[in-house]
């Protein structure tokens, strides 16, 4: 355990030193405060928009940003150390491969989690003072918690990438593709399936397909509680057949645990 914490501590401080924490926090804070105050601008008004509109627009932006940030933060975790030779050196130390991996995960995961809490939390507090509604804090808690899980999930996925390739540049390429597939292509494909193939897929089937993408689970978690008038596209269909929040969170947690377990497995078999 001490070894895990030593590695986690180092990774966390790397995140501070590289200004990752401050940049992500700022991005999230600006984004969420901006959306909170100017989200209604499209409908011609400036001022605090309704809670469901705010959370809906935050979720649809976060679903692109968070995976991208997580992948950027962690894609070179292992391949970078392999290239510089420190990975081989670390493995001659009294630390196991799973300790090293978990240490990195806790360190980098804390950066993402802390940035999410500070960044989005700031606008939650602002909105709470404006509206004075306890509902705000509940919605935002769900949003922030699911956003953290989304970030952790993509951190674990980027470890899979980082452990499977032998060059940093390749890892960067794969990270980009992964982001594109999960954040954009998957939804387009679902939509095509829904529109293009008549009776091709039931509501239930669609929801189940969405479980294959952590980004979509994140969307479902945050949008299912809202007025469906703020939501459109494939999601609206899925929401009608929605699973309970508990089930969705379980699925999201599985999307953290499974890639992480697989990453440990790959690391153990990796030749150095």
């Amino acid at each position: 355990m001490r070894q895990i914490l030593t590695v986690a501590n180092k990774e966390f401080h790397d995140g501070l030193r590289n200004r990752w924490l401050i940049s992500i926090t700022l991005i999230f804070a600006l984004l969420s405060i901006g959306l909170t105050y100017f989200g209604a601008a499209a409908s011609g008004a400036v001022g605090v928009a309704s809670l469901s509109t705010t959370v809906a627009s935050l979720a649809s932006l976060a679903v692109f940003l968070i995976p991208l940030i997580a992948l950027l933060l962690s894609y070179d975790s292992f391949v970078g150390e392999q290239e510089s030779g420190t990975l081989l050196l670390l493995l001659t130390y009294p630390i196991s491969k799973s300790q090293l991996l978990l240490g990195k995960f806790i360190g980098q995961g804390s950066i993402i989690a802390l940035a999410t809490i500070l960044g989005f939390g700031s606008s939650a507090v602002l909105l709470y003072f404006q509206l004075g509604d306890i509902e705000v804090l509940i919605s935002f808690s769900v949003f922030i918690f699911s956003a953290i899980l989304l970030g952790l999930s993509f951190t674990a996925i980027s470890y899979l990438i980082s452990l499977s390739v032998s060059e940093k540049s390749k890892a960067a390429g794969f990270a980009l593709i992964t982001w594109f597939l999960f954040a954009l292509a998957f939804d387009l494909a679902l939509l095509a399936l829904l529109v293009g193939v008549e009776d091709g897929i039931s509501q239930n089937g669609l929801t189940q397909l969405m479980m294959l993408n952590p980004a979509d689970i994140f969307r479902l978690v945050n949008l299912s509680g809202l007025d469906s008038s703020d939501v459109n596209g494939a999601l609206a269909v899925a929401i009608n057949a929605s699973l309970s929040q508990g089930q969705l969170f379980t699925a999201l947690i599985a999307w953290v645990a499974l890639p992480l377990t697989l990453a440990i497995f790959i690391f153990k078999r990796k030749k150095l």
């Binding site: 070894q3 030593t6 590695v7 180092k10 790397d14 030193r17 590289n18 510089s84 030779g85 420190t86 081989l88 050196l89 670390l90 493995l91 001659t92 130390y93 009294p94 630390i95 196991s96 030749k271 150095l272």
Partner: protein
């Protein structure tokens, strides 16, 4: 205490179609310094990785401190092993002190003691002045010193050093060998892995020569010299060609070095006596074959054998 610290018994490692290391048997005793020599790709690094337990042998047995190094039991004995990899660039954005403290903590030091250990080691390798600077500002030699300091963490019982003197200036090289001698006298065993380097002879007890994964020779320098049967070079001066007229001596002269006698080890003394009987002799240099010549000898012998094998 008589059990060797490291032993390889018919140990070898193969990757798909490549024998990185053919069967090698060797023992390293406590307090012994072993030189491991060979070209790139000779299997030096593979052998080190086997001893470190980073990879498992494809055949044979490896034991370090009485345990298989890749097993779970060997876990905590790892903090008693120091390793300097051949190519390592430490975390560039961290300072030297931070890098070393991190590694010390991973070797089991508590926070405060890790820092103290790091400062002591940085002083020992002589980069105290740069310890608060990020590693990216370090020169090649300073990085190498940092790597050495890393290997020395926790007074290791076993040290494996891959190309330890690359990039070090002569002063730093001397300091390095002093440290090796000191570790040896404290009972640590050292494996120095390198191309043959001038000056390494005095500091090693035994040498191993590897080529293409095969052990060509192993032993003390004297034993290797004997095996190689390389002649001793004797350079007399002041004789003005009388050697060429001496029937007992002119047989040792060769056409490409007319001033030097190349004498087999066992005839060295009789030749020297004969030379001393010449009146004009005013100086005499006797040079036994050095490590580099021994190394070249075994390598060319191996190559010849391979060529024959390929033809047959």
């Amino acid at each position: 205490m008589n059990t060797p610290l490291v032993s390889l018994i018919d140990a070898g490692k193969s990757y798909q179609d490549l024998d990185a290391l053919k069967s090698v048997t060797m023992h390293l005793n406590q307090g012994e310094v072993m030189g491991l020599f060979g070209h790139n790709g000779a299997g030096k690094t593979t052998m080190m990785k086997l001893i470190l337990g980073v990879i498992s042998p494809s055949r044979g047995k490896v034991e370090v401190m009485g345990m298989a190094p890749d097993s779970k039991e060997a876990w905590h004995s790892r903090s008693k092993i120091g390793y300097l990899p051949e190519n390592v660039s430490f975390y560039e954005q961290l300072t030297g002190l931070e890098v070393l403290s991190y590694f010390a903590k991973l070797k089991g030091f508590t926070n405060g003691r890790a820092k103290k250990q790091a400062i002591d080691l940085l002083e020992q390798v002589g980069i105290t002045h740069a310890m608060k600077r990020p590693v990216k500002t370090y020169s090649k030699g300073m990085r190498q010193r940092l790597g050495l300091a890393q290997a020395f963490i926790g007074e290791p019982k076993l040290l494996l050093l891959d190309e330890p003197t690359v990039g070090l200036d002569p002063m730093a090289t001397r300091d390095f060998y002093q440290t090796v001698d000191q570790l040896k006298s404290n009972g640590s065993s050292v494996i120095l892995c390198s191309h043959v380097l001038p000056g390494v002879e005095q500091h090693i007890d035994r040498a191993m020569i590897l080529s293409t994964g095969q052990l060509l020779a192993m032993g003390t320098l004297a034993e290797l010299r004997q095996q190689a049967a390389l002649p001793v070079a004797i350079k007399p001066s002041g004789l003005n060609g009388s050697v060429a007229n001496d029937n007992r001596l002119n047989g040792f002269l060769t056409s490409n070095c007319p001033e030097t006698l190349l004498v087999p080890e066992q005839e060295k003394l009789s030749v020297l006596r004969q030379l001393l009987s010449h009146e004009g002799l005013d100086d005499l240099q006797v040079e036994a074959a050095n490590l580099e010549q021994v190394y070249q000898h075994f390598l060319s012998l191996h190559e010849k054998k391979n060529e024959k094998g390929a033809q047959g």
